[in-house]
Symmetry: D2
Subunit: 341 residues, 4 copies
């Protein structure tokens, strides 16, 4: 029997860290051996360190694990550190781990745009993982939750000659973390601004759709206008995307291509990969948070309407699973299958 | 002392009807003399006929008014009938009133696109009221709540040579009426479709910005792509509008023009007209439902960002006041000042 | 291999019916063979008849089943009809089925208080199922969702000599059905009244805790004061119960008795029975809807505080699973094990 | 013309402080001359120091006021300091002001139970203000929001010989301050515990209903069991109160006494005093947050049901107005009329 991949979870008490534990609870070949969070929790049991918010109880096997630090010496025993650290502390901690020879796959924003570090949404650009072959210590980033979700159906958009993409994102409260927004500030309200988001989304997507040259990612140029607002839903980022093409497209072909977009089929043991990463809905009242987030790794697309070279799509994805915890696990699984892990 | 304008309220027990009563409760020169609703309520007191949902109690002076029918004979004693009828019954009732010589100003959708009936958002097109001069019986329509709100800042957009307008509307639950959406269907959810809305909005706006010729409205052609979704907020429709211009615009001039857009200043006694119909916000987290709906007749515009001939605005308005009950009262006030009432 | 128990689901398109299908989707020995709902849906596929609201998709095996009527001739082929009918139609339909020799286990309110029909919350009074032995056609009722949940920890209360029970129930919106309450009426609001609830709860609980004599249930007298309010949560009924005892009780014994209350342990194949029907929480901020409804068949009890012969408990249960769909399935499973099915 | 009473507002940027400014914006004889908040805001304009959350804009006259410290020297120019300070800083600041001869009326919890400091809910115990006559520097406390609201109808309960009072309080999110609870923690959830609340409520009420003897308040003994839970509504604390009396009461007399409870009628210029502090509702679905909080100083009582010497009432009040900002203003107004201010 193959040895399991040993991992640490950094930021394990946050909302994304908790979701990682849920996903990895019964994983067939990834084994969580270390949990860490902020310094004050070192030495405590996980169950005493966490304000558990995931539905269901803390998985039994993690309850009594003793919290360790984020220092390199506490992670010498793992193959990979999976980081769900908050951005303000991630930079220092992650760079220290890398300098000490510890591999990191990270959800945190620092270094996402570094040209020599792959920014992976596996179905879209697992090929960028080839950059790792020349790295002694592996360092991989995952995109922002919204970039991850909205980029998925763009794979088909970018196969055509388009003029402009206009995107409005309606983002869930959990995207700001469990305590990021008070009830009084967002209930029965919409906040029409999310700091940094409107810059990150096009930048990160342009890197994901870039190509590798001389061990660097050359970003793809995009003409994309993004507006991001916070809406009072707990989980699920929705996007309304309007694309203007230069030439006519065949909308049925477009939909079929997305339905049949299964680039990871060639890999065998991707336990978190959805059968179809993009689900196309023909019912006019889909996608909906209430109906379409039960498999958190799928991206749901509906309201496709095409006229006069203009296409409209409504996109929905789970910001905690596909947008954060799940994408990191899928990235590691893909690396393992490609032989770069 | 001038005689008061006598009005009936049709659909007086609905959410828009109640809002009309609140607005007219202490009106200096409009006097509500008849209330009607569905047939089963005729003869009952208003207070026994209504499921009152407006904040605060039923205005004392309406509590004991006896409900009348919607038939013409019950409205011979008024100068105007103000209609907040549901669309499925409005057509027959309104046409019968008109045929019997009773003037009607109506919020309901039937006949909104009729070329000889003015569709009035007073600041934008009070001039269209001139059509009334040749009508024996006056029949005026108000636009859909979303059309009303979103059209307001477009007054400045359409002064420039633009290529395309893309609009995403995030619409409040009250837009579907008090019982239109169940809690289970919309709480913690977004429904990405509102029946008929995406067609109505550009059509009605093209009529509002049309011009009068031969006693008809000639619609203005628009190149506008609209997506409408229902969000879990109670009151307030928000729009994210992206405009591409053909030539560069001066964004500061654009904002100032909207700030100074006060076309009704020439009229004296418009009690419901806001001093400035368009409020421009420079703070990046405005407009918000929580902060910007206390004067329900104003339209709030923020997040103005201009680059490469592309302008983005976030628009917010009160769908029950400006979008429905208030616009009807302001229409009557304007007609009165213009001498066509 | 044992033959499976064949069942029909009546009211299969409602929120409780859907939950039954979810629970029975992979049941090892109960097989759903008929689905019915209102007359207008007869002959249609289930997927075309239902507004599916359960998380996740319609189970594949039910999608294409053809809807049948509620008439007896359509249910001759089953061992049991499970009824999730709305109360206003349940009486006629159920009595007709019974008269035609078709066994019924029902969630609906009519006949719940009939002295010769068992009203079953399995852990509490499976013994009442002995009444079925003399019935040619089996007719079993399940209690109201709130009665079901609140009665569970009362098993221990009623072992002591008590003076009075005061109960405030904070009930979820789904208890009124999927479309029972509009968003505008209950969001950010509490409605301090639920029709019929305050009478049903003590009456049904007095029957559940009654005893069998001459093939009838003799109700147990209760001194219980109930107030029921509707709160803006989607799933989960909470109760605040204050009990005054006549003599001192040992609170630790009380808690342990509830923890060890496992009356169904003697039966082997109860697939929906929770290992422990009552979970006692010592943390002061439990139970919570967000944390404690993942196993919908458990009843969660916390905030136990005892002083001066007065005990306070906060009780929480899933009104759709334990309170409706799950209790019916567990009732059938128990009947099967007892040999009365 | 009488000189206005000059006041400072401490904690002026919090949710209660903002509400005070709204109430005092146009007050006929109270003039806000100083605003203070945390040290870091000293010298800034109010509009730059506050995250304004009250509906409507910041009152014009306060926008540009320069923030001062909470130190005594900054408040020598006022007649009274009104304190809406958070409890953790209130003790030191208030005691320092008092020691420096500055009068304080405070909402904050420290010293509420001190026997020589009146704890005032004006209608209930304005008589306790007589304690001030012998104080050189006046120090008055207002009760906790829930104590304030729930005590009001108890005035009639305590006129009778009762055995026990059981109270369940369903408290709004704003009671924890604007940022006290995250959206993720309380939306679609109930938290069955509020730190300190269950002790404070009976203690404070027993003091409010106490009597003055030797310049001290002797608390009234109460037999009261309280459970407090947090519910997902923004404003409005509801209580379900069950009272067992020793003798039969006349329920109609009881209701009429509450309806006619107008102890402040003797004072003339109480601008914030409601005409009737207790409103009795006979409709079974009242009181409701949605309908009954428009006059924030009234306490609404409904669902009165009496049987077997047991009375049940549902009580609702505005926790920000009557429960905090309004009660402080009304206290000062009453002191002014009584000649102790």
């Amino acid at each position: 029997m193959m040895d399991k991949i040993k991992v640490s979870i950094l930021g394990s008490t946050g909302v994304v860290g908790q979701k990682m534990l849920r996903i990895l609870e019964n994983h067939p070949y990834i084994d969580v051996v270390n949990l860490s969070a902020s310094r004050s929790k070192i030495g405590k049991k996980y169950s005493e360190s966490v304000a558990w918010v995931e539905p269901g109880d803390i998985p039994e096997r993690f309850r009594d694990m003793k919290m360790v630090s984020t220092d390199p010496e506490d992670h010498k025993n793992v193959d990979y550190v999976l980081s769900a650290l908050p951005p303000e502390v991630a930079e220092d901690i992650e760079i220290k781990l890398i300098k000490n020879g510890i591999n990191v796959i990270s959800n945190a924003s620092p270094f996402r745009m570094a040209e020599n570090i792959p920014l992976i949404n596996p179905e879209l650009n697992y090929q960028h993982l080839e950059l790792l072959e020349k790295m002694d210590t592996k360092f991989v980033k995952n995109p922002n939750c919204t970039s991850t979700i909205m980029s998925m159906p763009m794979v088909e958009v970018l196969r055509h000659d388009y003029k402009k993409i206009t995107l409005s994102t309606l983002q869930a409260v959990s995207g700001a973390g469990f305590t990021g927004l008070s009830y009084m500030s967002i209930d029965d309200n919409i906040i029409p601004y999310i700091h940094g988001e409107e810059e990150k989304i096009p930048a990160e997507i342009s890197k994901m759709f870039g190509f590798v040259s001389n061990n660097k990612i050359i970003n793809r140029e995009l003409n994309m206008y993004v507006t991001s607002v916070r809406v009072p839903v707990k989980v699920g980022h929705m996007g309304i995307m309007n694309i203007e093409f230069n030439d006519d497209i065949d909308i049925e072909n477009f939909k079929n291509s997305l339905r049949n977009f299964t680039p990871l089929k060639k890999f065998k043991n991707l336990y978190t990969a959805p059968k179809n990463p993009v689900i196309i809905h023909d019912e006019e009242n889909r996608p909906q948070h209430k109906m379409d987030l039960s498999n958190g790794m799928e991206i749901h697309v509906g309201r496709l309407e095409y006229k006069n070279k203009n296409l409209r799509m409504v996109i929905l994805g789970d910001n905690l699973v596909r947008g954060a915890a799940g994408i990191t696990v899928l990235t590691l699984e893909t690396m393992n299958e490609m032989g770069v892990a």
